[in-house]
């Protein structure tokens, strides 16, 4: 799929918690095909603190409206600015980028595991899996009840299980302590979240011999394979997470 640079228009900017918002962005033309796990590179103009583009996973999309949604956590200067975008404003985007999650086979048991802004790519993935007539289990970890995001959306596509660090909602503890992960019978686990969480999930999956893919959020300068800054060490050597990821098979990682 050819990569495009396009001026998308902000359709709406929805605050969901103190830290998170969702931008719906409309393509100036027919939206290119996008797969779950792929991302876009957003240009945040005009600041010395946001010189480079910023990568965001596709959270959802609508081919009829030619729009994509990105779920953004306010992490610094760039995301702070994006949080203030108004409907009608322009956001320049390069897309589609990266390799998507691999397709599950019909009839497989699927578990999605997410935490923090890592839930972003999983909604699109859950929706996609549902279209394959699979009801995935979705395990989401948050700090506390106030930090819970998007679970209602996820419920459309599968059974949702929650953990919170403080037990204020769902099960107390980390996702990696959840029985689903420890004992659940799954053919595939797809995971995105903080690196520590992904490492724990990968090690569990490996030990239980379950196919597992994680989506890495490595620092990126270009997003299109020309800077070699976003590498991760794998069994195949250093690979660029922007072109050969962000989705990587657990068995390839040297974690």
């Amino acid at each position: 799929m050819a990569k495009l640079i396009r001026d998308f228009k902000v359709l709406n900017n929805t605050k969901i918690t103190q830290d998170y918002f969702i931008l719906e962005l409309v393509s100036p033309e027919k939206l290119q095909n996008l797969m779950p796990g792929q991302f876009v590179q957003v240009r945040i103009d005009g600041s010395r603190e946001t010189f480079l583009r910023r990568p965001f996973s596709v959270h959802d999309l609508d081919y009829d409206k030619n729009s994509i949604k990105i779920l953004v956590q306010i992490a610094g200067k760039g995301t702070e600015k994006m949080s203030k975008l108004l409907p009608g404003e322009i956001l320049n985007i390069i897309y589609p980028l990266g390799r998507p999650f691999s397709e599950p086979n019909k009839g497989e048991n699927i578990l999605l595991v997410g935490g923090g802004s890592g839930v972003a790519p999983l909604l699109f993935l859950a929706k996609h899996i549902k279209q394959l007539e699979i009801n995935p289990d979705i395990l989401l970890g948050f700090k506390s009840q106030q930090r819970i995001i998007e679970t209602e959306e996820f419920e459309k596509y599968g059974r949702v299980f929650i953990t919170t660090d403080d037990g204020s909602a769902g099960r107390e503890g980390l996702v990696t302590e959840h029985p689903l992960l420890l004992k659940g019978k799954y053919d595939r686990i797809y995971c995105c979240g903080p690196e520590a969480m992904m490492k724990a999930v990968v090690s569990l999956a490996k030990s239980r011999n379950i196919f597992c893919e994680v989506s890495l959020e490595h620092l990126m300068a270009c997003g299109i394979g020309i800077c070699l800054c976003c590498i991760v060490k794998t069994t195949r050597g250093n690979i660029c997470t922007c072109t050969e990821g962000p989705v990587i098979n657990a068995n390839e990682l040297l974690w």
Partner: protein
Amino acid sequence: MVNLSFKIGNLSFKNPVITASGTCGYGIELEDFISLEKLGGIIVKGMTLKPREGNPYPRMVETPSGMLNSVGLQNNGIEYFEKHIYPRLTGLDTNVMINVNGSTIEEYVELAERISHLEKIPAIELNISCPNVKMGGMAFGTNPVTAREVIKSVRKVYSRILIVKLSPNVTSIEEFAKIAEDEGADAISLVNTLLGMAIDVKKMKPSLATITGGLSGPAIKPVAVRMVWQAAKTVKIPVIGIGGIMNEIDALEFIMAGATAIQVGTALFIDPSVPCKIITGIEQFLVERGFEDYSLLIGYINKNF
């Protein structure tokens, strides 16, 4: 129509806009965004004899109007290039050049020699200025004795167009420009990145795994323009200007300072289609100001002040 073409030695370039080494992959990666044949040239990523893994992650951090990188010449080596990449580039109607690196003089020489057999590679850029490798690179390019030695040795085995890429991390850029000219370089290109560093204060640790890295982007432009101006006044061979060029105004700044051509680096990360915009922009400027040949602008400020 205005003229944008120029020559280094006997090698013609259709225009003065070249993509910089390490910022355009093998060129192929840009094909979704631009037609490579529109470019004056492409300098593919820093190459070594043997494959190199480069430095550990993290390798980059954003800085005010710029970035630091510590990629450290990750590449698959010359053999991979010959087998898998070269065949895809030979049909291109533009100058595909290779950025040549080594840890020892022998490695530089062996690689240059080998490239001299690749018919469709009309030029090499000798990188004696990479700040991200322990051996070779900047260590060669900031010492006049070793700089001279490596250029001399490569010149002996490489008879096509030899461009020497200079490091800005020196007291006198004139000294190194002169050495390159004396040793028979056909052109010099500058600047490579400035050695810099950043600390993630919140995490209380260096932002890069290697602690230091190379600073690129608009932040370094004033230093780069100054060095190009100094170098161009010192040598008679063409000077290729590099450093923070984001648009045609920046490109023209280097040209007016004395650059015969320019390279676009970090800007490609933000807008991979920018080289073509720069070509069109230069063209427009010439038309508006009534210049028929961009070469009239080379070193313009020296001629007129």
